[in-house]
Amino acid sequence: MFLQQLMNGLTLGSVYALIALGYSMVYGILELINFAHGEIYMLGAYFGIIFLGFLTAAGLTAYSLPLSLILTLILSILFCSAYGFTIEKIAYKPLRNAPRLSPLISAIGVSIFLQNYVMLTQGATDKVFPNLFGTAGFRFLSVRMTYLQLCIILVSIILMIGLRLFVRKTRIGKAMRAVAQDKTMASLVGINIDTIISVTFIIGSGLAAVAGVMVAMYYGLVNYFIGYVAGIKAFTAAVLGGIGSIRGALFGGLLLGLVESLGGSYISGEYKDAYAFILLIIILLVKPGGLFGKTDLEKV
């Protein structure tokens, strides 16, 4: 029972971690809580259903399931990245020099807009993701694990390692770190700040799209309001691990997933959603920098 819950928690946690990365990266660079990020994840889940349905209708799924799934994933990533890019250009870029709370309110506006946009175009009822894998799985140390769960954990970890390598090794990654450290200085050494910010949004949204598609597969049901709760939880995960740090997002996400699934089964399932908030409040009060982050002083 305990190990089983641990496994479920890890699956959930790796999804939170993927979404948390988007928050973390954007916050690292813009110091903005991208409230609409959860909605990107929700869009990803919807795109998963829409594109898979389209490919199935086109006959590709019957021909080759893996190919069709990969195509679905790629299309979802592309569209979510496009949404992330557009949102930044429309709602955040004009406010870059505005007082700090203006972009946050703008982000809340985007979030509300996207929720209702999806509700109006896709309907308010649950959408079903076709059950492609059944409950096929294996047993390991008395823990039952489906292949899908394993797949979610593996994909998340691979993506995170890939992101870490990208940020550490590539030119753009280095530029991103430079912008996160000091925007003015970075622009003085010839880094195009706008491009870097766009890249950040594109990567973050792509990761959220992967999380969305995988969750849609895992739970099988998607609704237009899943983004809000998942967004808040992922934000909690990002803060928990120390916002702005990739490693922090990973551990924060896993920790939150474990707390939720263990708390949900041992304390009370009804308050499952409240654990994230309580954890968030405690962390912000006790160690505002998060587990891996550093607290910096406010400069006058």
């Binding site: 569209f79 406010l95 959603d273």
Partner: protein
């Protein structure tokens, strides 16, 4: 007109910007494509490009419109300020129509007016926290919920009437305002916003799950309306006068506090916290006051809401409600009391008037927030100085 730089600009880069608009419309339609299919995306593209080109066309005449509007408002202002008696006349006309409303309008309209009044109290309360002290509170609805549930429970479980339950209910919300503020005020800016949001969600989850007391999602029904001298105020028109009284009370008191020493301290904190603390203002204490004072009004609104509906359920106290109240404050103008009243009134009245577009209300609200932040962050009536800061 001749020297209008916007017009010159649009002429010079006419072709370039037209192509750009076309691309923008194409791009947004592409984003729309997966949701509704090709046919709708094409329709969307046509509508969007027409709207964009129209807006572009209008923006060429921006200067002309601005001067016209400014001229018109100046003329009105001149007319009004020409004689003090006209201000008095206008005010008394407004007051008279407010007092006479139940005799002039039907029950439906009075009902909407009551709802507006409750939201005006809420918005004025939130305005104290966000507009005066500059602390973004995204969980304001929690206090509204606590006020409503406090009255509902005191009334249904202990049989207390409205007037004897109200002090307890207000005390409880004020204390909960303090309780949230004590830990939350160590945080700044957006972290504070997220913690207050978490607080709002926790309160809602507790109301939703604590079945033995709050009866969960079913809510509490059979709440008594208030009585005055054993006359029930259950009737819509008589209840209207009660909330009108409450609104007047809220208006007068927040106005007085705003111009008092405490209000000045709040504004100083909003404008620059560090400077304020250097000037000897105990920032933590005054922020505490702001939270508790704002919560107090939310409690009043909550109790009025419970007494009016005679039913409460967690559904009425979601995060969206917090956002709606915040929108009222921002739309009207942060820190401007008349602005906030107009904002609350508009956001309640508009969807009622435009019944057909009610489905699109939240869509428009979201878009409106973004547009407002970009073009007029100080809100419709916000004066200079009232701004969002850390």
């Amino acid at each position: 007109m001749k020297n209008d730089p916007a017009l010159l600009n649009s002429n010079r880069s006419g072709i370039h910007s037209t192509a750009k608009l076309f691309l923008v419309a194409c791009w947004l339609s592409l984003l729309f494509l997966p949701f509704k299919g090709l046919k709708n995306a094409v329709i969307f593209f046509l509508i969007l490009s027409t709207v964009l080109f129209f807006m572009k066309f209008l923006s060429g005449y921006k200067g002309f419109f601005l001067t016209t509007i400014k001229g018109a408002t100046d003329r009105i202002r001149q007319l009004v300020s020409a004689s003090r008696s006209s201000i008095v006349l206008l005010r008394s006309l407004l007051l008279l129509s407010l007092v006479m409303l139940p005799f002039l309008a039907g029950d439906y309209f009075v009902d909407v007016a009551i709802l507006s009044c409750i939201y005006i109290i809420l918005a004025l309360g939130l305005n104290v926290v966000v507009g005066f002290a500059g602390l973004l509170n995204l969980g304001f609805v929690a206090f509204y919920a606590i006020g409503a549930y406090a009255y509902a429970l005191l009334n249904t479980k202990f049989g207390l009437g409205f007037w004897s339950a109200l002090p307890f209910s207000l005390l409880l919300t004020t204390i909960s305002g303090f309780l949230l503020a004590v830990p939350a005020l160590r945080l700044r800016g957006d972290y504070l916003a997220i913690v207050t949001l978490g607080f709002g969600e926790i309160v809602r989850l507790v109301l939703n799950n604590w079945d033995s007391i709050t009866r969960g999602p079913n809510g509490i029904s059979g709440i008594d309306p208030p009585f005055i001298l054993s006359i029930s105020l259950g009737k819509i028109s008589s209840y209207y006068y009660l909330v009108l009284f409450f609104v007047t009370l809220t208006f007068l008191i927040t106005k007085r506090v705003y111009s008092s020493k405490i209000g000045r301290a709040w504004i100083a904190i909003r404008e620059d916290e560090i400077a304020a603390s250097v000037m000897g203002i105990n920032t933590t204490l005054y922020k505490l006051y702001a939270f508790a004072f704002g919560a107090f009004w939310a409690g009043l609104a909550g109790a009025s809401f419970a007494a009016k509906m005679q039913f409460v359920s967690p559904e009425s106290f979601t995060f969206m409600e917090s956002v709606l109240i915040l929108c009222m404050v921002i739309l009207g103008g942060l820190g401007s009391i008349p602005g906030v009243i107009v904002g609350a009134f508009l956001l309640i009245l508009l969807p009622e008037v435009l019944r057909e577009v009610q489905l699109y209300r939240m869509l428009a609200l979201g878009m409106g927030l973004v547009v407002l932040m970009i073009f007029r962050p100080q809100g419709l009536f916000g004066g200079k100085g009232a701004s969002l800061r850390n």
